[in-house]
């Protein structure tokens, strides 16, 4: 090849800046955020996607429709919006050793494409209307150690203001998940769209219902999905803890109108003074996520969809952030406790059959007060 002998220009991670940059491992390349976009058919997902692609013309955005089905299909199309143009690309879904492979074939296909065509600024994955975003989130929430080029930024759920209540209240047979409820429960951002089609009372009813299910998501009202794009991107829902959101969800309690709802899925927040040990944390996780031995007063088992928290660990000056989706969890250090601040453990939980007192009691058996171990 003729060009192999041309001396390439070296690349550095910070060529133009005059100020001394933060030391970064040279192998650390910026990862690409992937956002899962879900919501029932007709709620406005496609409108939103088109709007994003049109408005964000200086960014290279990839849009994948209908996630990755099962089966042995070899290819999947992907649209890329860049500088006002939209063009199509193909993801090669290589089959073969799916068996003991840690990374999903969809992830590998996206990474391979980026290797060949350069990185995207954002990836938006639109699910099918009746999708359960939980398993999809699990695929993209990968261990840091895998050094993937992508990371899960968050889940955005679009709701049709006119039909949301009906969809959320729809009775399903025993053991069958109501996807609309799951989509709301797992959202980091809720877009209540088509507000022009409902009156104030209806809008309040939808808001109340949605807040009861998920009291810890950002909520935005739109018409035709017109939204400030800064609200959509860089959610960092899985690698940051939004304290404001937490405080807000703490103050959100039952609404009068919500009592007629047979909502098995709710948000519960707990905050207890004290610190946990590695073994009490293990126990907490085991009971809530894996063994599922905690029940409500009616004996029905607790089923966690999503959980976030800030935890104080015994003999650790760092704060720890807990992130959970379904049965996966991650505990990562995030900043330091202020010297004189009281040590607490606080969690927001979203799931089935949650009762405030039960979670509180469980947590209390897992924490030790500072006075007991200093």
């Amino acid at each position: 090849m003729g060009d192999e002998d041309d001396i390439p220009m070296l690349v550095g991670e910070d060529d133009e800046d005059e100020t001394i940059p933060e030391l970064v491992k040279v192998e650390d390349k910026p990862r690409v955020p992937l956002t899962i976009l879900t919501g029932y058919l007709g709620a406005g997902k496609t409108t939103l996607l088109n709007y994003i692609l049109k408005e964000q013309h200086n960014k290279k955005i990839a849009v994948i429709l209908n996630e990755f089905g099962e089966g042995s299909s070899m290819e999947k199309s992907l649209s890329i919006g860049h500088e006002g143009d939209l063009f199509e690309e193909w993801l090669e879904l290589r089959n073969g050793c799916l068996c003991c492979s840690v990374k999903d074939k969809g992830v590998k296909a996206i990474e391979n494409l980026m290797r060949k065509r350069g990185k995207f600024d954002y990836i938006l994955l639109e699910t099918t209307g009746l999708a359960d975003p939980g398993p999809i989130a699990s695929i993209f929430w990968m261990d840091r150690q895998l050094g993937s080029d992508l990371y899960l930024d968050g889940i955005i759920t679009v709701l049709d203001a006119k039909y949301a209540e009906k969809n959320l209240n729809e009775k399903k047979p025993e053991g069958v998940v109501n996807e609309a409820v799951k989509q709301v429960a797992l959202a980091d951002l809720l877009i209540i769209n088509k507000t022009d089609l409902v009156d104030e009372t209806q809008l309040k009813a939808v808001t109340d219902l949605v807040s009861t299910i998920n009291g810890s998501a950002h909520m935005v009202y739109t018409q035709r999905c017109r939204i400030d794009l800064n609200k959509l991107l860089d959610l960092h829902a899985y690698d940051k803890f939004d304290n404001d959101l937490f405080e807000r969800s703490l103050s959100t309690r039952f609404f009068d109108g919500a009592s007629h709802l047979d909502q098995r899925v709710q948000t519960v927040t707990v905050e207890v003074e004290g610190s946990m040990s590695p073994s009490s944390m293990d126990y907490f996780i085991d009971v809530l996520l894996w063994d599922r031995s905690l029940t409500n007063s009616a004996g029905e088992p607790v089923n966690i969809y999503r959980m976030k928290g800030i935890v104080s660990m015994i003999a650790e000056s760092q704060r720890f952030m807990l992130q959970v989706v379904q049965q996966l969890y991650e505990l990562e250090p995030i900043g330091y406790w202020e010297i004189d601040s009281p040590r607490t453990c606080k969690f927001v939980l979203i799931g089935e059959n949650l009762e405030q007192e039960k979670i509180d009691d469980l947590l209390r058996t897992c924490v030790t007060l500072s006075s007991e171990f200093s």
Partner: protein, 380 residues
């Protein structure tokens, strides 16, 4: 990498690679990045220019050592190491009288029964009857591997090992599980040198100095048994010896901690600690897996530290631990055959595997070698 050291605040800093220049290097050669060549740090464009005539040689791939093969299925593929694919023989059959898994007759080898429970993280606790079924299947799997190991030698093609494994399985009323699994063309996996796993047996004769892993899984009366070992072929280098020994030790150490109450995610911590202590790395893309009536199922058992593996060991769980440890980088790549996994830098990788059953107090190694005190073949 020798060009990396820790700076005062604990962050890794790189040294310029130009011989004699020891300045701190924050710049990296883009061609090397593109070719997945590790390292290649330089302090400045000028310094780089001066060293260019020598450096550019890194971009050329090592030439085929055995140039007598005209077989070249992927002319544009940049191999990371010196191993090359050889032609494969035709697909073998298994007599219909032997019980087969569902994927055996699927046109794409798709395991529908596995797909049905995919995503469900609840791990099966086997009944006493099922445990017996597993014991038998695993014992037979070990016998079949024994047969394959007996013929592995200098000059013997991996295809021949596969033929022996195939016959040995049939003789024992077993279906060789890899055959047609997701379309895999052969009855076992043979992984030589830089191949991490899933090497496809072909006409390449094993060479003096090779390390070769033979991975056998058999399906007998509705249960799968899975194990593998890495062998020395002829006289191997001392680093190969150390790598293989360390990999085996990683497996042994992780088996030692298996008992009820232990979290699956702890296995990786232990393995990574030991591998790193010897200067080796842990392959992250492939993991151990639950196994019983299904070939691969929950739990997933990564071999690297800080993983999100779900679940706690309970009596009656059956699963494999199968660490893949590499001489250089932990990163892997895949050949265009969609199976063969190789190290990204072309350096060696070794693996060992056993199928385990969690008992009330500890572990039973179902695929345990019964003779020679259970020692691995490379120590024979």
């Amino acid at each position: 990498s020798t060009s990396t050291k820790m700076s005062a605040n604990g962050v890794a800093a790189h040294c310029c690679e130009t011989p004699g220049c020891n300045a701190e290097a924050k710049l990296q050669c883009p061609t090397c990045i593109k070719l997945n060549i590790q390292g290649s740090f330089f302090c400045s464009q000028n310094c780089f220019k001066g060293y260019w005539e020598s450096h550019k040689l890194r971009h050329k791939k090592p030439s085929i050592s055995d140039s007598s093969t005209p077989y070249n299925p992927w002319p544009y593929y940049a191999f990371s190491g010196s191993l090359r694919p050889y032609p494969q023989t035709t697909k073998k059959e298994v007599p219909p009288s032997i019980g087969r898994p569902d994927y055996a007759d699927d046109p794409n080898g798709f395991p529908h029964s596995e797909q049905k429970v995919r995503g469900a993280a609840n791990i099966k606790c086997l009944s006493d009857e099922e445990k017996e079924g597993m014991r038998v299947a695993c014992k037979l799997a070990r016998e079949v591997l024994d047969e394959g190991v007996k013929v592995a030698d200098i000059g013997v093609a991996t295809d021949e090992i596969d033929r022996v494994v195939h016959e040995a399985a049939i003789e024992r009323e077993c279906y060789p599980s890899p055959l047609n699994y997701h379309g895999f063309p052969k009855s076992c996996c043979t992984s030589v040198n830089e191949v991490i796993c899933h090497g496809i047996p072909d006409m390449r004769p094993l060479q003096n100095g090779d390390i070769c892993n033979i991975d056998v899984t058999v399906y007998h009366r509705n249960f799968h048994g899975d194990l593998n070992e890495t062998l020395f072929i002829g006289e191997v280098s001392s680093i190969a010896k150390n790598l293989v020994k360390t990999t085996w030790e990683c497996l042994q150490k992780s088996i030692e901690i298996v008992k009820p109450g232990v979290k699956y995610r702890e296995v990786g911590s232990l393995i990574q600690k030991h591998a790193h202590s010897q200067g080796f790395s842990v392959v992250r893309s492939y993991c151990g897996h639950g196994i019983h009536q299904l070939f691969h199922t929950a739990p997933s058992v990564p071999h690297y530290a800080k993983n999100k593996a779900v679940g706690v060991m309970k009596p009656g769980h059956t699963f494999t631990i199968e660490p893949m440890i590499s001489e250089g980088t932990w990163k892997d790549e895949q050949w265009p055959d969609n199976w063969t996994a190789v190290t990204a830098d072309g350096k060696l990788s070794a693996q060992f595997e056993e199928t385990l059953l969690v008992t009330d107090t500890g572990v039973e190694v179902l695929t345990q070698r019964r003779d020679r005190n259970g020692q691995p073949y490379f120590m024979d």
